[in-house]
Symmetry: C2
Subunit: 217 residues, 2 copies
């Protein structure tokens, strides 16, 4: 990783959303053989204030930075991994094995964070019984029993927007407590169920808006 340039990142608030970024960066540095890193260096990469980095890290880890040398990368990484829960195994399932469903089932990045997408559900007879990214594709009408039996708490919705609410209701009735929603539908759920909308086009639109307000100045 070259050191000359600065990274401009889209704004983010609260340590909760920054800690995963520290983790990413530290893992990258670790792989490059970097042993210690200062808060200023981390801050530079992420385009934030070094004091904020130190505060975030001291709140989440037991690693103390050393004056003159900064933080040791590998213990920091280990602590952060524990704090973020990446060392614990979590199981999720996905409904809607279309384009995006395939992509997520094949994504190897979940493993590293302790997340296992155990199965995909779909109604397409051509898919049922197949495997995508080593994960079995099961028929929709098996979902209820499967999810209850395995006690799954995390559901991923990658169906077309029109049937997202129905799938969501099903998930909720099976005891799902967190839904990662890729459809464009705003879902209705009971208060104890968490929904995270991952509207990709909107996410890019947000970036464009920031870019425009940047160049206007």
């Amino acid at each position: 990783m070259a050191k000359k340039q600065k990274t401009s990142l889209v704004v983010m608030t609260s340590s909760r959303s920054r800690l995963p970024l520290y983790y990413s960066l530290l893992r990258q540095l670790d792989q490059e053989g970097v042993k210690t890193v200062s808060s200023a260096t981390i801050a530079d990469y992420l385009n934030i204030n070094p004091v904020l980095v130190r505060k975030d890290l001291s709140g989440a880890t037991h690693v103390c930075g050393m004056p003159k040398r900064g933080f040791e990368v590998s213990p920091l990484l280990a602590d952060l991994k524990g704090y973020l829960g990446y060392d614990k195994q979590d199981e999720a399932f996905l409904v809607g094995v279309g384009n995006l469903g395939h992509t997520l089932l094949s994504n190897r990045g979940f493993e590293d964070l302790g997340i296992n997408i155990v199965a995909g559900f779909d109604n397409n007879p051509a898919l049922i019984g197949e495997k995508v990214g080593d994960k079995p594709i099961l028929p929709m009408d098996k979902m209820d029993e499967f999810v209850r039996r395995m006690g799954l708490r995390i559901g991923i919705i990658t169906v077309p927007s029109a049937c997202a609410q129905e799938v969501c209701d099903n998930m909720v009735s099976c005891g799902v407590k967190a839904i990662w929603n890729f459809s464009f539908t705003m879902l209705n759920v009971p208060e104890d169920v968490l929904v995270k909308n991952e509207n990709l086009p909107m996410s890019l639109a947000l970036l464009l808006q920031q870019m425009k307000s940047n160049t206007e100045q």
Copy 2:
């Protein structure tokens, strides 16, 4: 859309990130034939404070809410569309036509927000000359000339993490000012270039963390 339940959404800060959600919701309501909506109803769907909704809306639109009746959906939608820039056409391009690249090129959701991904670039000879989601796939070595000629400012990185920085450097040298990065590499860019990291596994991990802290209480 049923009205009985509340939606729990992952926290978000500043009107910038909430306005697109209002837009989504209002469009949905509009399609259902809803004519007026109160700030309390919007707030309920999004699990936020109604005062915040009114403040956000009054800052972004010229539509005044009517006491007793709330806001008219369709003028609000129109104003919001303008404010968010969804009525202006923007052009982006994508590098790395793998699984995720295919998914994004085929996604119809960008159009509605005024975003057109004009082409995908890849080195795979089997893909070059093909079309994905109606978008042409071109060889990597054509990127430079193509991007400069069209004056493209927005690049999407969907290549493996190992070559992400190289692709990024290329983009920057072609004048790209905003990068939507799906690789797991923290990119180095000059200060005037905006990077938005879309690390999908990490995004789910963040949701899990919140779910766990919810159930702990």
